[in-house]
């Protein structure tokens, strides 16, 4: 499934970052590589963007861009 479908507070693992261009390059540079554990911490007050927790730090990105990130369906 896609990262934007992940429930707030639930964890999963990244499978791949789709798309292309500078956005994707930046996401990879920021550590969104395969097998990385991610969690959505919260959404901004107006519902978008979202706050992501990964590799021990917090990153914010927009829901539209989160749709490019594929994650594992069931992650215990």
């Amino acid at each position: 499934m896609k990262l934007d479908e992940l429930e707030i507070g639930k964890k999963s693992k990244i499978l791949a970052v789709r798309g292309q261009g500078t956005l994707r390059d930046r996401l990879l540079d920021m550590g969104l590589t395969p097998h990385t554990e991610v969690m959505i911490r919260k959404a901004a007050p107006m519902g978008d963007p979202i706050e992501l927790s990964l590799r021990g730090y917090e990153l914010t990105l927009r829901i539209d861009d989160a749709k490019n990130i594929e994650i594992e369906d069931d992650f215990a």
Binding site: R26, M30, P34, R41, P45, P49, E51, L61, D65
Partner: protein, 667 residues
């Protein structure tokens, strides 16, 4: 000997820079790098300097600021790199370190915030990490000033002995083979531009087009490189960018698993999450932000700033009066006394008294920025700014714009898109800068004694409103297009370091003082000269007969529909073009009133309504020379700068016209 200080954003880079150099800093200009960076002499080593480069996450440039950092390292060939790494956030920080090591230059890693790691019962096996990475590593705490001397010693020794990293191979398998074959192919080209072939090869394999262009490769070379990368992609079943990023992170993950002991989640991180539960709360976030801004303005203008400004103003008035009495007792010519007292003292003094207000405003802005709150504001406001085609990132320069447009315009360099960047630059002048404070201060004192804060807040809001409207217009006309992605780190909240804040305040006060005694001083002299003499250089008894009055009357007709027909008003507005504070110093010179007498003098020149129209006009009309030249430099366009001058002035005229004419109908 010159060092480059490189690190992630929020890694404590500026704090370390201040610890390394003390107050021994200046803004340096470097050929080949379009942006000036701060350079300082390393304490105790007069022969060694260090350059504070913009924070980067990778050496693949993404924003124009990051280009500066990479260009500096590649083109200026510093003698060594000090790479600051946040020990509490090792994985992402080491991603940059690996690329820096590939450069094959003398490098030392400063492992910052080790005090925080230890306070959470964690450790990092530094000698093992040193072994694996092949470069010296020093544990430091920049904010507590620990380990700095050791870092300096190691850095200097390393640069003197040209000690290079012991390793540069962090990969294996298909990636390894490809990087090596590409490195072999481009070796000669890389040596020509004096950059490590290994670094360039990795960047090329990653798909970095700029470096391919710099090398001026032949078509056959390009072709065989492409083939070899394609082979790697096929073997790994992934694309080039992902392959390299993955390779680096796999190496880092293993390194961290071997060397980092982290028994529990850090207290600072947990605290940060708790603070965010409130500050970015679904319903509380926006009211809290607005209250914090309100509190800032209230404290700046209403409590602390105005108290100290009033104190300083009375001090200056006393000195001025004493000088007048002294000079006339000593029998000086009245024209001379007029020059000193009504010219210099009144002009420069009226501006000087606002230093405390401006310093206080910058104090709050720097607290917001250094604590990590500014990033949250960008997070909270992103969706709103998207409506005018911008991202949350643009919010930060705009907030800085309340301090001064010049650093605000420069702060847009963090934007990853040229379109966003240009649009943010055009909107920033609508955020009322602190140099206009003396104007608001004097006028509200003269006309709106009971509602000072209300009028000030209304002015700020009017500026924001006009900015939003302009943003909507630009988004539909000049800068049509898609908003760029918004990706930003939300760093842990941290107590801003006292030293960093104090240095910043000193810098701002110093800037302001310099301006007061240069631009404002000269403006004051010029104004005094033209208002004291007529065209035949006779001393006039009434300044209405002076040369200045004649010049002022030329443009006065433009302002008549706005309610200010006095030639002194048009003159003041012209000088405001040099620096906004000059508007008030000009009024002071023209009326010969001291800071404390000026409100009374103003009330004879304006009605409350025309004063309001005047305030609206000064809020929006053309930015000062310093801001205009910054706009020209950052947008690489004189036309853009001229456009800003004309647009802002036109909007200002229309707004002031509406205020005055509608006000007239209502009264």
């Amino acid at each position: 000997m010159r060092f480059a200080l490189v690190g992630n954003q929020n890694s404590g880079k500026t704090t370390l820079f201040n610890q390394l150099t003390g107050s021994n800093q200046h803004v340096g200009n470097f050929p080949g790098v379009t942006v000036e960076s701060k350079e300082g002499i390393i304490r105790g080593h007069n022969e060694a300097t260090i350059v504070d480069l913009p924070g980067v996450y990778s050496l693949s440039p993404y924003t124009s600021e990051e280009v500066v950092t990479r260009d500096f390292i590649i083109k200026q060939h510093p003698d060594g790199i000090i790479n600051i790494v946040d020990a509490t956030n090792l994985e992402r920080n080491l991603y940059l370190s690996m690329q820096l090591i590939e450069l094959n230059m003398p490098i030392v890693i400063a492992l910052n915030m080790m005090d925080e790691v230890r306070s959470n019962d964690g450790t990092i096996k530094i000698s093992q990490m040193q072994e694996t990475l092949g470069v010296p590593i020093v544990a430091i705490s920049a904010s507590k000033n620990e380990g700095i001397s050791e870092l300096i010693d190691i850095a200097i020794k390393m640069a003197e002995s040209m000690q290079l990293p012991k390793k540069q191979d962090f990969c294996s398998g298909a990636t390894h083979r490809t990087i090596h074959s590409v490195a072999h192919l481009i070796e000669d080209h890389a040596e020509r531009i004096k950059v490590s072939p290994k670094f360039i090869a990795t960047k090329i394999v990653e798909g970095d087009q700029t470096l391919i262009d710099v090398l001026k490769l032949s078509d056959t070379e390009k072709c065989s490189i492409e083939n070899s990368i394609k082979e790697m992609e096929d073997a790994l079943g992934t694309d080039r960018k992902a392959a390299i990023a993955d390779m680096r992170y796999i190496f880092i993950d293993k390194l961290c698993a071997d060397t980092v002991v982290k028994p529990k989640e850090s207290k600072q991180h947990l605290r940060s999450v708790k603070i965010d539960n409130v500050l970015t709360h679904k319903y509380l976030a926006i009211p809290i932000f607005l209250s914090l801004m309100g509190l800032t303005f209230w404290l700046t203008f209403g409590v602390i700033g105005s108290f100290f400004s009033g104190l300083l103003g009375s001090g200056i008035a006393w000195v001025s009066d004493t000088t007048r009495i002294g000079l006339s007792a000593a029998g000086f010519n009245p024209v001379m006394i007029s020059l000193v007292v009504e010219g210099i003292f009144a002009g420069v003094g009226s501006v000087l008294s606002f230093i405390p207000t401006i310093v206080v405003l910058f104090f709050f802005l720097s607290l917001f920025e250094d604590s990590g709150y500014m990033a949250r504001v960008a997070f909270v406001m992103d969706k709103l700014l998207r409506k005018i085609g911008l991202s949350g990132r643009s919010f930060v320069p705009m907030l800085i714009g309340f301090g001064c447009s010049v650093p605000a315009i420069m702060a847009t360099r963090t934007s990853p898109s040229e379109r966003d960047r240009k649009m943010t630059i055009l909107l920033t002048p609508f955020m009322s800068c602190s140099a206009k404070l003396p104007i608001y201060g004097m006028f509200t004192m003269a006309f709106f004694q009971d509602n000072r804060a209300l009028v000030m807040i209304a002015l700020y809001c009017l500026g924001i409103l006009l900015g939003v409207i302009s943003g909507l217009i630009f988004n539909k006309t000049l800068y049509r297009g898609h908003p760029v992605p918004f990706i930003m780190e939300l760093p842990n909240y941290r107590m801003p370091s006292t030293k960093t804040v104090l240095l910043l305040l000193w810098e701002k006060a110093h800037d302001f003082l310099t301006r007061a005694f240069t631009v404002i001083f000269i403006a004051t002299l010029v104004i005094w000269f033209f208002q004291t003499f007529d065209a035949r250089f006779n001393v006039v008894t009434d300044s209405a007969d002076s040369m200045l009055a004649a010049i002022g009357r030329l443009i006065t007709p433009i302002f008549v529909p706005l309610g200010f027909s006095d030639w002194r008003v048009s003159t003041a507005l012209i000088t405001g073009f040099m620096a906004k504070e000059a508007v008030i110093s000009t009024f002071a010179v023209l009326t010969g009133a001291s800071a404390s007498e000026l409100p009374v003098a103003l009330s004879q020149m304006f009605t409350p309504l025309s004063a309001l129209a005047f305030l609206a006009f000064t809020l929006v009309y053309s930015p000062c020379i310093a801001a205009i030249s910054t706009i020209k430099r950052e947008m690489h366009s004189s036309m853009a700068a001229l456009g800003v001058v004309l647009y802002q002035t036109a909007v200002a005229w229309v707004v002031a016209f509406i205020v005055y004419q509608v006000g007239n109908l209502l009264i």
